[in-house]
Subunit: 491 residues, 2 copies
């Protein structure tokens, strides 16, 4: 680990990209915009999946699987939806290759052209609502609460690992309800599940709010969002939950008979988070030495590194390390003993620092004599020597402490990077120099929103849910405004 | 549930298809060959995934994720591989749609043609071995033990739910090793994991063997298979494990420095099972009344159905049902209480029979007085009345018993449908009239294998691993043979 990462203050983007690769999280693939998620990165995703999946099921949702390929014509069924998604589709036009006539490689067989082209799903509303038409007849079939874990493709011209990729792993919930109120409750329930997950597991505080019309999901009546703030002062949309109204039900003719026997269109929602969450995790907590992971999502929570010179020392130290490893395992701690002799302790220290393992335990010959181990925290770099007698309890307490510390640090960063401004001049200065969330009055028009974006690259991240009404005037147009909205430059 | 399923003896294919749909496992989608896996079917797949994933991790494998889109040229790198897979590829040629000039819907934007077409992975050897080239430099990097859960596409002209679909959910393991012996051990280890899974969880006995050259995976040096026998006497290939030799390492130039510092190509394996396992599960155990599920894979192991007439009875019976449900849950039994008032008990009985729930518990007013419940087994249809006092223990014992019974019944069926023949006449008669596995001598040539297939539709399922050498003559050519192989008509 002789190479040093770029510094965050010097080149945040380069730091991020190098960190993702060198910590073994992901790398680029030969297909532009498609990434390879390496085992260490995928282990984080698996933890996220397990926790979210449990939360979805606890609230009555079941998983299912709908086809990845969607007939082109389906996308056109909902007018706004096609506007939003046609631009970035991967299109399957043929179903066979054949040998090239010059014998070199293979070519597309022109005889195997599909009658109707197929789209790789950019999201699954169309195929799912087409299916729901047959699944829903009566109020007895509602609510229909389905989730799927899947891959989607949205063509990306400026891809970045985890943050913006052509192929994305995600979950997409798609629900149908008998009433508007119930659908609206579902939308907020799922937003709150994401928020709670981010806070409790990712140690990332989120801002909950509603998207403006301009930033709304193509086909939704309202899009709710959770917005995180990264260390470089840019916002990151971490997930969305959409109230679809009856739009998809109308587009795909999904009706139900209510208890009085009357036919009505059902009310829909959809909601999703992606592997982008891993990008948010990295950019919230990590430092110039590498990744910093909150213990509740760390694939390895504690790494044990034996220190020795002679073979005799090695044998005794590793023996003790195995005993401690087993004691931790028995209490559910994700512990790894790295007893590989081909790497030196110093190399291992740097390696697990880069990989963001929350706690490092070193054991040497002196520790055997003193009945101690040395612990080093990844977040604060503090080192302490503790007795092996209460080792497990101390480690469990430290892991909790690290989890809390990371969250508090992120909250403090966000607070110190949230600024209220009263004028457009002040707005521009804060966006350009300090970054972060900027609370300002806005006149509610897409026109103003777009102009501000063109001039400052800042977008309205959301109209926050918890804001109090406040009379004011739009920083750009001077027109009246009833509430501050949150601006930021964003990923 | 007034409609009755087709009878297995009258039309096995129709029975299967209707059962899959009516039990809520899966249905066809608007895209030919792509199926929708419904929540109940997907819940079975999730159980399979969880068990297999744990077995893979327990043997040192880690999950990762490689892109779904593969550059067309990659498929040509390994000569046999392209022969096997070019015929059935979904080809992405464009990355954008645009509005049709007549304003009706969308068309493919001819400006957005890809320079090189992309293939939706039919399997991932090519993209993975391309990546391994950078991951492997030295013996320290080996073995590399990776698995991925993913979707693949192989165009299918005659699709059938679960058994043969264009899009398939599966897992694919891809490993690299320093030595031939180690790779060969890996191939067998994974075959044994599949075998153990099928026996212990699916209650399906498997025949383990090697595929003939003709049936080998395109690009493998040897393909090992697990073959199951369905109730209609047809075989079903349930999974495969491939020894790739150094073929992909050579095609993608993946070398490593051994401990002596010499460069050599690594040795590879790949292995996979798909949602087809669900097809095998259904066709092994189910009957004319519907699905029969082994308890260890059943999403619901016990369903409780309250019986009542008056509202007072309803209240008391449901109260007791909830107590019993909680007692079962506490012991890890997957129990569902169906207390919906809008369906009658008889309807529910038929519904859960169709859905293959292993045990049904009915509780009525008399049971409250007698301190009893009535249990009905799905497999044997036996009913017993038991005391609530030892209800949990009895149910746990019954679930174990059902699991074992299903396995033993499947073993007995396979034994009674495995026939040794000495002549081609006898062979043809057995294949045409009785079906099942037919053990016969074969001269080892693809020519004979193909002729037998054309004449009888039977293929060589495998050269069994556990067979003893036996001198004989090929039933078709009369040439000498050292071992019987297993023929069958197959899915």
């Amino acid at each position: 680990m002789s190479q040093i990462l770029p510094k965050r203050t010097e080149d945040f983007a380069a730091w991020y990209n190098e960190l993702v690769k060198r910590a073994g999280l992901a790398e680029n693939s030969p297909v532009r915009g498609c990434m390879i998620i390496k085992p260490y990165g995928f282990a984080i995703w698996e933890k996220m999946q397990a926790i979210l999946d449990q939360a979805f099921k606890a609230t009555g949702h079941a998983n299912a699987y709908f086809p990845m390929l969607i007939p082109k014509s389906y996308l056109s069924r909902e007018a706004d939806h096609i506007e939003g998604f046609a631009k970035e589709c991967a299109v399957v036009t043929h179903y066979r290759l054949k040998k090239a006539s010059d014998g070199q490689g293979v070519v597309v067989d022109p005889e195997a052209r599909l009658e109707e082209e197929l789209i790789i799903r950019p999201t699954s509303e169309t195929i799912i609502w087409h299916t729901y038409k047959n699944w829903i007849q009566s109020y007895r079939d509602l609510p229909l609460l389905i989730n799927q874990w899947s891959n989607i493709v949205r063509w990306e011209m400026r891809p970045r690992l985890f943050l913006r990729t052509a192929e994305v792993l995600w979950q997409e919930g798609h629900t149908a309800h008998a009433t508007r109120v119930e659908a609206e409750q579902e939308v907020l329930q799922m937003l709150n599940i994401y928020d709670e997950f981010a806070r409790s597991y990712m140690a990332v505080p989120l801002l909950k709010g509603i998207k403006t019309e301009h930033e709304r999901f193509a086909g939704a009546e309202a899009t709710y969002t959770i917005e995180a703030l990264m260390q470089d002062g840019k916002a990151l949309q971490a997930g969305t939950s959409h109230f679809l109204g009856q739009k998809f039900a109308q587009a795909f003719d999904v009706t139900f008979a209510n208890q009085a026997g009357q036919l009505d269109h059902v009310w829909g929602t959809s909601w999703g988070v992606t592997t982008r969450l891993i990008g948010a995790l990295i950019m919230t907590h990590s430092d110039d030495e590498g990744l910093v992971l909150p213990p509740r999502l760390a694939p390895i929570q504690v790494v044990i590194i034996p220190i020795y010179k002679s073979e005799t020392e090695q044998k005794l130290v590793v023996q003790q390390a195995i005993i401690l490893q087993e004691a931790l395992k028995a209490q559910g701690v994700a512990v790894k003993l790295d007893d590989r002799d081909m790497y030196k302790p110093g190399w291992k220290f740097a390696e697990y620092e880069l990989k963001g393992v929350p706690l490092r335990m070193a054991i040497g010959p002196k520790d055997l004599v003193n009945h101690t181990v040395e612990l080093a925290r990844r977040d604060t770099k503090e080192k302490i020597t503790i007795s092996v007698d209460n080792m497990v309890a101390v480690i469990q307490a430290l892991l909790t402490d690290i989890q809390n510390y990371l969250y508090q640090r992120a909250v403090a960063f966000r607070e110190s990077h949230t600024t209220s401004v009263g004028t457009y001049e002040a707005f521009k200065t804060v966006i350009a120099q300090k970054g972060g969330f900027v609370l300002a009055h806005w006149d509610g028009t897409t026109e103003t929103e777009k102009k501000i974006q063109v001039e400052t690259k800042a977008t309205i991240r959301c109209i926050p849910l918890d804001a109090s009404p406040e009379q004011g005037t739009c920083i750009y147009s001077g027109k009246p405004s009833q509430q501050r909205v949150v601006f930021a430059q964003a990923y």
